[in-house]
Amino acid sequence: MSMNDNKGGGKRLLDLARNNSVPLMFILICAVCIPVSGFSPAYLLNEILTRMGRNTFLILSLLIPIMAGMGLNFGMTLGAMAGEIGLILVADWQIWGIPGIILAMIISIPFSILLGLMCGNLMNKAKGREMVTGYIISFFVNGLYQLVVLYMMGSIIPIIHSSIKLPRGYGIRNTVSLLHMRQYLDNLLAIHIGGVKIPVLTFLITGLLCLFIIWFRKTKLGQDMRAVGQDMEVARDAGIKVERTRIIAIVMSTVFAGLGMVIYLQNMGNLSTYSSHTQIGMFCIAALLVGGASVDKASIGNVFLGVILFHLMFIVAPSTGAKITGDSMIGEYFRVFISYGVITLALIMYETKKRKAKGKAGQMLQLAQSEEDGQ
């Protein structure tokens, strides 16, 4: 990007537009959809703030693996599952409210670390295809999760209350009610301004994670991760333990995803035992990419912009689709299509950019070589 300095202003603007084509496209979609959908600004603002509190922490968990050059962590689903296990246990022990939320977070951490270690090790064996590996790991661990929750909970792992158990005596019901901790975190210290609720505490926690990430980037470990992300071989020569650094990045991401999932579910107030986590990775990644992040570069700014734009589209798309075509399903499918489309587009742009850069580097090398030969 440093080459832009000596270019004309118009060209720079064009470059800016090209680099931010996805967010610009989304601003356009939202600009068209919002008037058609007919929602009031207060309603939209309220919804956006709720969804920001709910999702931002989860999306922030994706930043660290990107820094370490491991791409979009599709394995964040693992953390989400750990968070859910924590919540199921807490719901069974009937520890509600804020203590319940905190305990669920604490329980999720060891599971997250374990799953993160596994995920990191597998990804180290599949360097260069971390994303597809992470994606398959999430399916694989989903199988293990079902094994534990559907068969072992109640039969091997003691579950006391039959309200969350399946009638057959073992296994957890499809939905676990978290009514007694619903939005406890959001409502504590919440500020109401003209019908708009601001969940201050949730934002504070999210802010803390942002500060942590900013601080972490400057630590030795953070610098190591960036070095590994830039070039693994160079980092190895510099004495950085590449494998270990990469595993730490994934473990951290998984732990944060687990905490984020607890925040997410306390807002929802309802845990769909077997489906809450399946889509979460996809939506978080799509939101991050909508904010202008790419596979190898993402900032906290991308996260916030992404949450706002993506969820604005999510809120307005169904009713807009219904107004335009007369069929409410169209909007539903449209937003799913957009989520997948954005990820596809971002992946394609990343790969083509990488190839172009490779080609350019090759040309430079050739040029340098021919110059050397000339001398």
């Binding site: 295809r129 169209i330 596809t344 190839r355």
Partner: protein
Amino acid sequence: MSKTENAALALGNKSKFHEFVDSFGLPRLIIAGFLLVLFIMAPIVGADLPTQITNTINRFSWNAVLVLAMVPMVHSGCGLNFGLPLGIISGLLGATMSIQFGFTGPMSFVMAIVIATPFALIFGGGYGWLLNKIKGGEMMIATYVGFSSVSFMCMMWLLLPYSSPTMVWGLSGKGLRTTISLEGFYDKVLANFLQINIGNLSIPVGSLAFFALLAFLMWAFLHTKTGTAMTAVGSNPAFARASGINIDKMRLLSVVMSTWLAAVGILVYEQGFGFIQLYMAPFYMALPAVSAILIGGASVNKASITNVIIGTFLFQGIVTMTPTVMNSMIHMDMSEVIRIVVSNGMILYALTRKTEGAK
């Protein structure tokens, strides 16, 4: 592989068994052993073995062509075709249009293939062109191309002007149903052709013969000049370029073939299953096919027709046998969990093997 070979040399008299395990792959061996145990257990726990075998063969005949669709792309080095749903969509377009245009009986099956072909060629062409732009990152992008095309078609199934009363929602008269019965169209059209019945055992010869024909054509193709060139592109791109093969053209051809086979594959699946499934149904259809070919002994850059046959049989065998045997044994239906763990575990195993990591 060289590492294991060196180890074998160093040990000198490493037992035959270990060599066998190395070449066959431990997970594959476990899965084959598991299926064998299931077959032995079936009569003991009171399940009717001929019925079980019939089910397994039936499911084999439904799925084999979809698994066969993996072969060309693996050969040309494009990796596992996670973008299978794109081909499936071409097949679904063929199926629905064939019914829409009023074809019935066996003719509707032929017409479905005929109509699906141009779609498969166009989609496959575009998809192949895209994959040529992003060499090295095929698998992840293929997955998401599949997903986006499926979710795009979800809108299209509602919006396209279909009107055949057998397919659209009865109440509103527009928008396709989620499942469409094939009765009167091509339900079991291949399976009933030359079907052999011995007691409880029945073999859908027509479906198997159709698969055999396609598999033979694929085998023959891989031994033509173009086919060998394709394999060369996959196994050694630098060598292929040096011998004057147009790499991009070969890869494009392989993607188009794979997409077309997926289109035919879903039609064969539907004729066995008896229903067309639309909307989100094709979403995860790539994963069973991918894991089946991997179970059969293929890897990310090597696959043969034998892999397809063995893999589909093992995978479908486990899928059909586990529910019945498990249920009667421990009164617990864990088949779904086993299926998820086995199929995704197999894909993980293939992705994380060191020998294939270098690319």
